[in-house]
Point group: C2
Chain length 279, copies 2
């Protein structure tokens, strides 16, 4: 059988992947979830028709999303992932021995279940005793932290879907302000903010919101071939350390993408990206 998955990355652009097997396909309470076995990029998680992660290319996303803030912070002990139900971000956070508590705030329990079943290389850390999994809205959870009902964080990463449905609010200045109040002194927030090739307004808007919210804001890049545009942005806001002068330690575990040298090089932006954020 010649079976292909196609994603409409924009109304004008598609990616297609040959599929060996549909491992899971169902409607959760929040979205349409599929796990597909592709021949090019290994197993792949798809939510509402959009590729979330593949076994082959996920390191360039998860390692850069997580290790940049974690190596920047001098001593990240209590950390959080908003979204990220596949477990890839938690797995990377646990490579930092300073971590005492890692909270995964994933609204959709179906994603975590599917990752545990089909994506063990991503979800391996979810059973770790330092990890707490909460199935609730990230905005509501962070509001409780900001109000002092729950203890604050040293590092928060927003590992969200594209800005649609429940994730829309995660790209807002209001949410960044809430997270700022949910951070300890020296705390750091990083959010994935899409591609400068196909989503320029979003890159500009989220960076500017981050810059209005935090005393220090910076944009950095990675490359994720299954995401639209490939070149991928991360907006970082810091209450303390500058990621260009990391105060912490690199991850204590093997990495496929991140290196301490790449940590710094990722902030050197192509001219058109610099222009997008007013540089």
């Amino acid at each position: 059988m010649d079976l292909w998955f196609t994603e409409e990355q924009t109304p004008l652009l598609t990616i297609g992947l040959k599929v060996r097997k549909v491992l899971e396909y169902r409607q959760t309470g929040y979205q349409e979830l599929a796990v597909l076995e592709t021949e090019q990029y290994g197993r792949m998680l798809v939510l509402d028709g959009c590729i979330q992660t593949t076994e082959v290319d996920e390191p360039s996303y998860h390692e850069m999303l997580v290790h940049v803030p974690m190596a920047t912070h001098p001593n990240p002990r209590r950390v959080a992932v908003v979204g990220g139900g596949d477990g890839g971000s938690i797995r990377e956070m646990l490579k930092h021995p300073s971590v005492e508590e890692a909270v995964l705030i994933e609204i959709d329990a179906g994603v975590v279940e599917a990752a545990k079943r089909w994506l063990p290389s991503l979800s391996s850390g979810l059973e770790d005793k330092r990890v707490q999994i909460v199935h609730t809205d990230g905005k509501e959870y962070m509001a409780k932290v900001a109000q002092g009902e729950l203890p604050p964080f040293d590092v928060v990463v927003v590992d969200s879907t594209d800005p649609v449905k429940a994730a829309t609010g995660l790209f807002s200045e209001a949410f960044y302000q809430t997270v700022r109040q949910a951070l300890n002194p020296d705390g750091i927030l990083v959010a994935q903010t899409e591609s400068p090739w196909v989503n320029q307004d979003l890159v500009t808007g989220t960076y500017q919101a981050m810059a209005r919210t935090f005393p220090l804001a910076r944009l950095y890049l990675s490359v994720v071939p299954t995401y639209p545009g490939g070149l991928w942005c991360f907006a970082l806001g810091s209450l303390g350390p500058d990621p260009l002068e990391p105060q912490g330690k690199p991850p204590q575990g093997p990495c496929k993408y991140y290196t301490p040298e790449l940590h710094k090089a990722a902030f050197v932006l192509p001219a058109f990206v610099q222009e997008l954020i007013g540089g």
Copy 2:
């Protein structure tokens, strides 16, 4: 009409682009040539079904292919492009005032004609009086230079199609050795060498061939979203200056992608790419 172009980037992976208009479609003496007007990435040149260049994303390819060697060389006066009939590489070379002669060695006159007609933003430099266009095989031309029948070059860039048909030999160690003999002292060769996500053996092989041929070889990266894998490799061989310590001047003209800072950052490789080249 809902018209789509689809490229089989590998037998397991496709890219699709909505097409507004087919501007040209014909068989040249060498290949099937199409110029399509896409809505996502502007006008696009397609050879034998493979995307060669689009108006929107071409700067990340041409500027990085050309300015890295041109800013590294202390005084590039006589330069060559092998392939590159769209003119994008020549346009970038002419941003260096030291250039006295720029030779475009493009086997297929049909590509140059199509670029002049449909892609003026790329082909604008081809009428410049410093430019000489030669429609012959790049290997044969460089062999003549190597044998002293034609004057040598300071910088040669290989702006080829994928390693199929006439371009196959351009990815060989024999060709690199010929170019080495076609260079002046301090001369530099750069070749595009595909993506480390989908063409790992080629990345390793071409880099090793470059390293055996030149006293100094380095690999650097850019990101081209319409190319398979997005992340794109360039193998550089130098008889003199190290690209990490550029001895020349940056381009004298506006760039959309290249900056002197990015020139250096492009050599900082992700862990898995470093591993591919034995680092």
